[in-house]
Symmetry: none
Subunit: 205 residues, 4 copies
DNA sequence: CATGAATGAGAATTCATTCAT
DNA sequence: AATGAATGAATTCTCATTCAT
C-alpha cells in the first residue's frame, strides 16, 4: 500500500527534483508525446526503477509538474500585489501580463510548452492556490481602490479577463508568425480593461 | 506509393464520411484516447484495412475532422453576416456567441469535445478558411457601419475578442461547475466589446 | 469492450490452437515461469500482438488450457464407463488409473507438468465437467452393481479415493526416484478400494 | 563471495527468524505473489539490504521456510510416537490427522497457505527429516504391534496413505465449500486404513 | 551491521500499420 | 474494394539484486 517513499535523504530529494525537471524538458522537446516514463527517466539521468520509487505512475509526474507551476504562479503574483494595488487598472493589467509572460517563458518556455501541448490535462488539479491568489489580488485591489467596487459583474468580467487573457497570451507566444506582437496584445488587453472599467463606472453612476 | 484513393464513387464517399463521423464519436466517448484506429474503424462499421484505404494514417483522420470543423464554422458564420452587419456591436457579439455555442454543442458536443480533449492539435491546420470568413465578417461589418472604422487597433482587438472569447466559451461549456453561466458570459463579452468600442470611439474623436 | 475476436476464419482457429499448444509446451519446458506471454508467443510462432488478438490476457490462456484438460478428461472417462461398470471394483480402479496415467503423460507429459507446476491455479475453473463425468461414472457403476449401494459413506470414500489417488499418481509420476513403481501404486490403490468395499460390506451386513 | 553471514549473535538470529516469519505472513496475506523481497523485508521490519545480509536470494528464504516446516512436522510427530504406538491403527490414524490439521492451521494457517499457494515448490527440499520421522513412526509402530508386520506391501500402502492423506487434508481445508467435513474425512481415512489392515491380514493368513 | 537509493532486465499489454486473401 | 489476421516496436510498470554511505 504505502509503497511510494517520501524522500528522506537529501540525495533522494534531488532525484525527485530532477525527475520533475526532466518532465518539463521532455514536454518541451517532444510535445505531448514526451512524457514517456522511459524518456523522462533518461533525461533525468536515473533509471526507470528509480522513477517509480518516487512516483506511483506517469500521472503523478504530471501532477508534480502542475503543483510546481501552481506554486510558481503564486510565488510570482503574491509579491506583486502591493505594487499592483497602487497602480491604475491599465498599468496593473499590463504589468501582470509581462510578469506572466516571463513566467511562461522561463526555463526555455517550460510552462508555455505545457500549456501548449498538454492543454486541459495540464492544469488538472492544484489550480486552487492559483485561484486563491488571484482572488486575493482582486480583493486587495478593490479595497485599495474602493471606487471600482461598484462596478457591475465583477466576477464575470474577471473570468473573461483571466481565461481570455491567458488564452491570448499562450496563443500569441505559441504562434510562429503571430499576427499581433506581444506588446500590442498587452496594450490591447490593458485598454480593454480600461474601457470596461470606464464604461462600467459610467453605467452605474 | 500513391495509394490513397480519392473517393470517386458515392459508396466510397459514404465510407469516408462515416469514418470521420466515427472519429468525432470516438473522441466524444473516450476523450483523447478515443482516436485509436481500431476503435474508429469499429465505430464506423468498417475494417481497419478499409480505413487505411482512405486515410494514410491516424493524422489524416484528424485532419479531416479539422477540415469539417472549419467548413462548419464557415457555413455557420457566412449566412449570418448580412444579419449581423445590421446589428449594433453588442447584439452582433451576443448573436455570434450563441451561434457558436450551438455549433460547439451540435451532435452531442462533437466540436466542444474536440476542443476540450485535443487541445492545440485539433485546430492544427485548416484554420485559414475560418480566419477568412471572420475577416470577411469584420470587413463587411465595417463597411456597413463605417463609423467604427476609425477605431484604433482593430486587428489587435479582434484577436483578443476572438481568441479570448472562444477560450472563454470552451472553458465555460467544459466546466462541471462553471462559476459563471453562459448567458452571463455572453452578456459580459458583449458588454466588453460595447465598452471597448465606446471607449475607443471617444479616444479617437 | 468486445475486443477479443472469436476466430472466424480457419487460419485464425489454427492460431488459437497453436497458442494453447504453446502454453503447454512452455510449462513443460520452463515450469511455472514458462507462461510468459512473450515465450508462449514465440513457441506458438506468432507475435505477441497476435496472441492478444485472441486472449485478453495471460490468464485466459491458462483458462483455455484448463478447459482443454477438462474436456480431455471427460473424453477419456466417458467412453470407458460401460466397460468399467462391468468390472469388479479392483479392476475398475486399476483400469481407470492406467487410463489416467496415459492422459497425464500424453504429449510429453503435458498435463502432468501442469499439475506439477501450476498446482492449485491449474484446475481453477472448468472442473465442473470433470466432476460431472466422475459422478456419472459412480452412478452408473452403482446401478449396475447395486449390491454396493448400501456401502456407508460413499461420498467421503469417493472424495478420498479421487483426491488422494490423483495426488499419489501425480506425485509418483513427478518424482525422479519414486520409492514405489506406478504398477505398485496402482495395485495398492486397487487393493485399498477392494479392502474398503469388503470391509464396508461386512460392516453393514 | 562468502558473503552470507551465519548469524552468530542473538540479535542476528532474531533478525533471521523475523524474516522467515515475514515470509509466512506474506504468503498467508497475498498468496503466491506475496514472496516479494521488498514485501517480506517490510513485514519483517528490516531493510532489503539487511535481508540480503542473511539470505543470498529469494530462494533461500523459501528454503528456510521449508526447513522450519519440516522441523515442525518432526517436532509434532516425534513426541506422539509413544502414544500412537499404543493405539489401534484406526485411532492412530485419526489422532495423527488431527495433529496434522492443527499443524497446518497453526499461526493463521501458515503452512496450509504454503501448501495451497506454493504447491510443489514448497516441499522442495528438506523433506528428508520428515520422511525419517514417519519411517521411524512406522518402525516403532510395527515393533510394538508385530502382528501387523506380515502385512503385504507396507511401503506402498504407506505411500498412498501419506501422500493421499495429506493431499486430501490440504484440499479439504483449502476449499471454501468442502463437500465433506474434516471429521468425515478423518473418519473415512481411518476406516480406510482399518479395512486395509483387516483385509491385508486376512489375505496373508 | 544496517540502510534504502538505485538499478535494469523483463513482464504484460497496446496500437498504428501492413499484407495475404 | 474490402477484410481482418498478423505484426512488433513501444509503453507502462515490477522486482530481485547491488552498492555507496
Amino acid at each position: 500500500m504505502a509503497k511510494i517513499r517520501k524522500p528522506q535523504q537529501s540525495r533522494s530529494k534531488q532525484t525527485v527534483t530532477s525527475i520533475v525537471e526532466a518532465g518539463f524538458i521532455a514536454v518541451a522537446r517532444d510535445g505531448s508525446d514526451g512524457l514517456g516514463t522511459r524518456k523522462v527517466a533518461d533525461i533525468a539521468g536515473v533509471s526507470v526503477g528509480t522513477l517509480y520509487e518516487y512516483f506511483a505512475n506517469k500521472e503523478e509526474i504530471l501532477d508534480a509538474m502542475n503543483q510546481q507551476f501552481a506554486s510558481d504562479v503564486v510565488a510570482m503574483v503574491q509579491p506583486l500585489i502591493p505594487e499592483l494595488t497602487r497602480m491604475p487598472p491599465r498599468d496593473a493589467v499590463r504589468t501582470l501580463q509581462f510578469a506572466f509572460r516571463d513566467l511562461l517563458q522561463r526555463d526555455n518556455g517550460r510552462y508555455l510548452n505545457c500549456a501548449r501541448w498538454l492543454g486541459r490535462q495540464f492544469p488538472s488539479a492544484h489550480v486552487e492556490p492559483v485561484k486563491r491568489v488571484l482572488s486575493d489580488l482582486a480583493m486587495q485591489y478593490l479595497s485599495h481602490n474602493p471606487q471600482y467596487a461598484r462596478l457591475p459583474n465583477i466576477p464575470v468580467m474577471a473570468y473573461i479577463i483571466i481565461q481570455g487573457g491567458i488564452a491570448c497570451m499562450v496563443s500569441q507566444l505559441s504562434e510562429d508568425n503571430p499576427p499581433v506582437s506581444f506588446d500590442q496584445l498587452a496594450e490591447g488587453l490593458a485598454d480593454m480593461v480600461g474601457y470596461m472599467i470606464e464604461g462600467g463606472m459610467k453605467a452605474t453612476s
